[in-house]
Amino acid sequence: MVRRILHIDMDAFYASVEQVDHPELVGKPVVIGGSQRGVVAAASYEARKFGVRSAMPIFEARRLCPDGVFLPVRRQRYQEASHQVMQVLDAVSPLVEQVSIDEAFIDITGTKSLHGPETALIKKIKEAIKHRTCLTCTIGIAPNRFLAKIASEMNKPDGWTIINGEDVAALLQNLPINKIPGIGPKTAQVMKELGIRTAVDVLRFSQEFWVKRLGKGGVDLYERAHGIGPTAVIPHRAPKSCSAEDTFAADTGDMEKLKKWLVCQAEEVGRDLRKHRVKGKTITLKVKFASFKTMTRSTTLPKATHSTRIIYDTALKLLLALKLTEKVRLIGVGVSNFAVGMEQRSLFPNTFLHKQEDLDRALDRIHNKFGCEAILRGRIGEIESD
């Protein structure tokens, strides 16, 4: 089946939200930014006419557009508007992938009988979004992701473009190479030296030529120039578990070795959980034996954790309870059953836990700054089995 991918891009999102909230700003050049690093976060179309662009220093924007309205970033409000837009999109297809606060891909393959022709669907989405948020957007529909994105950029603002399979060749004829995703300033420079301006120019050289020049990226470039690109739309789901596992170079029955692997894995899993600010209640140990027989054992803790030490201690208990009758090929540890909502405070503070949390925090900071090799847990690997 031919895929049909829809890309939706909100028009001057932050600035438009401000104009919705402050109708007196409609028609005026609005520039959002300033609070962080002093650069422009977004500019209304009116401000863009003066040459104001995203990521431009604020002082530069003030020079270009002295009469502009400069507003601070209200991220929470934009999130809220974004959430409303996504709710509209979720009703279109189960395959919705939000890629940024104001952009999303939707796989609309085979939804014709539900939504009617593509033009009708576009109208429906645009109207629903306008109704919910008073905002406008631009929509592109094409056979794959990168063409859909290109399509959505073609008729901004408040427009739409549909690219059918038969239109692709003509489109590529005149497509400037800097519109192809993955072409940064460096590659663009290489291209320029070779006299390449449009996508079709890329095809004057063989794929091998590009692979030699650009490595793996060469294959992608060659495919894009043919109008071929990824179509998979992956809806974002919050992860439900977090795990780490390793297969050994040689099977082992050495308990000390297994413990050391567990320490590393508990650390990896713990760091990941802490990074995402989640705690899990269920700890699972996975062991694959030399015979490929796999066993998993899990236990549920009374209190959710993201502490490396508690993950390790729990996994070790599970390991010690297993009878290792043969050598082990793989070991892994996972944490799932994530806690949500609020955490219950205890009557009596758990000093052991507090110390472990302090230790985790300190190690995470060192790891983030100097890399994982900078500091390792020494003693935890030597804990005697109980």
Binding site: P302, V340, G341, M342, E343, Q344, R345, S346, L347, F348
Partner: protein
């Protein structure tokens, strides 16, 4: 052994002993009840889980004395199904106990009575009479705070704590909340508790159950056991050998803020909020503002709820969240038309007390995001 007795009486005693017998045990005899027929007009029925033992007497017509142990659960199930007023229990060759009523006949497997553990009811120790209904009330009001499992920070038992100058406190504490009920020590005149004792959760439940139908009771403490005697029944509970947490230190002495609530209105509002809580989202948020208490609960998965109660309050705005069940448990224990919610800040527990129930105290630790 051959006994003839009223079916209803046997059902009653079996119900009493069933909760003592161990459900999950690898010692089969602990699921059995010991039936002893020695007297002419009564039998003794006993059970034990090795930590708690119960013996109770019930009227029966003894045709020939003897002893037998049989599965308490099976015997109860059989007896319950019999539509006859009188039944006969008789031992059979081959270690069977025959239950016989009308034309129905059951043969249950037994284990020899000699294998039944020795039950020590400390008959020689000194018993002191106590106020049975006050004891039951004290235990019932605080049982909810006794944790079902023991962990590092809580003890799975109810603490009987003598306090200066002349009080006895029944204290429960599960690591997240604390409850106590204080009675004058004279209510238990000769018990002479010099230091606190910890009665395991199951023991507390058994005492409550036994006292449901009794008005007379006496207590004794002997060799780390608490023994309760009522006419016809004796219960022995092995006390927990543990250190009860220093619960007084976590009660904030100063609770500068408070508001008064109508217990019934507050409880039904909590119940409404609880509809939108579940095992993962348990909180109810309290927002106190001038003359209103706003309650909110809910989560992205089910939905949200809020409700507002009028209160008399003039202080600063304050927001705190609690596990809704914990607050409801406290409300169910307070016997007072008006209750007070007192607090210090979001780091210390909120206190719930009742005007007409001054001897009851409860503290619930907040939840944080």
């Amino acid at each position: 052994m051959k006994i003839q007795m009223e079916t209803a009486l046997l059902t009653g005693v079996l119900q009493k002993v069933l909760s003592i017998t161990e459900k999950k045990t690898n010692i089969p005899i602990l699921s059995n009840t010991l039936i002893k027929a020695t007297d002419h007009n009564a039998i003794e029925v006993s059970a034990t889980d090795l930590e708690i033992s119960l013996r109770t007497e019930v009227g029966a017509q003894i045709e020939s004395p003897g002893t037998a142990t049989v599965s308490a659960r099976k015997l109860l199930e059989v007896v319950r199904e019999l539509p006859y007023e009188r039944i006969i229990l008789e031992d059979q060759p081959g270690g069977k106990l025959q239950v016989h009523a009308g034309r129905a006949r059951f043969e249950l497997q037994t284990i020899p009575a000699e294998d039944f553990p020795y039950l020590n009811f400390h008959e020689g120790s000194e018993f002191s009479r106590c106020d049975a209904s006050l004891l039951r009330k004290s235990l019932s009001k605080t049982l909810y705070g006794v944790p079902t499992d023991e962990d590092h920070f809580s003890v799975a038992g109810l603490y009987w704590h003598p306090v200066e100058p002349d009080g006895l406190r029944f204290v429960s504490c599960d690591g997240h909340r604390l409850a106590y009920f204080q009675v004058p020590v004279e209510s238990f005149p000769d018990l002479r508790l010099t230091k606190g004792i910890i009665v395991p959760r199951k023991g507390v439940q058994e005492i409550i159950r036994i006292l449901e139908k009794e008005s007379e009771a006496s207590l004794s403490i002997d060799e780390n056991c608490l023994i309760l005697k009522t006419p016809g029944t004796v219960l022995s509970i092995q006390l927990l050998d543990a250190e009860f947490p220093e619960y007084q230190v976590i009660i904030p002495e100063e609770r500068p803020f408070s508001l008064e609530l109508d217990r019934d209105a507050f409880f039904s509002a909590l119940k409404r909020m609880a509809v939108l809580t579940d095992n993962r989202w348990r909180h109810v948020r309290f927002s106190v503002k001038e003359n209103v208490l706003r309650l909110e609960a809910g989560n992205p998965e089910i939905g949200n709820a809020d409700d507002v109660l009028d209160v008399e309050y003039q202080g600063e705005e304050f927001t705190i969240a609690f596990n809704v069940r914990y607050v409801m448990d406290s409300m169910q224990s307070i016997e007072s038309e008006k209750i007070r919610f007192e607090w210090l800040d979001t780091f210390h527990g909120g206190v719930f007390v009742g005007q007409d129930d001054p001897d009851y105290f409860s503290l619930v630790m907040p939840m944080i995001v």
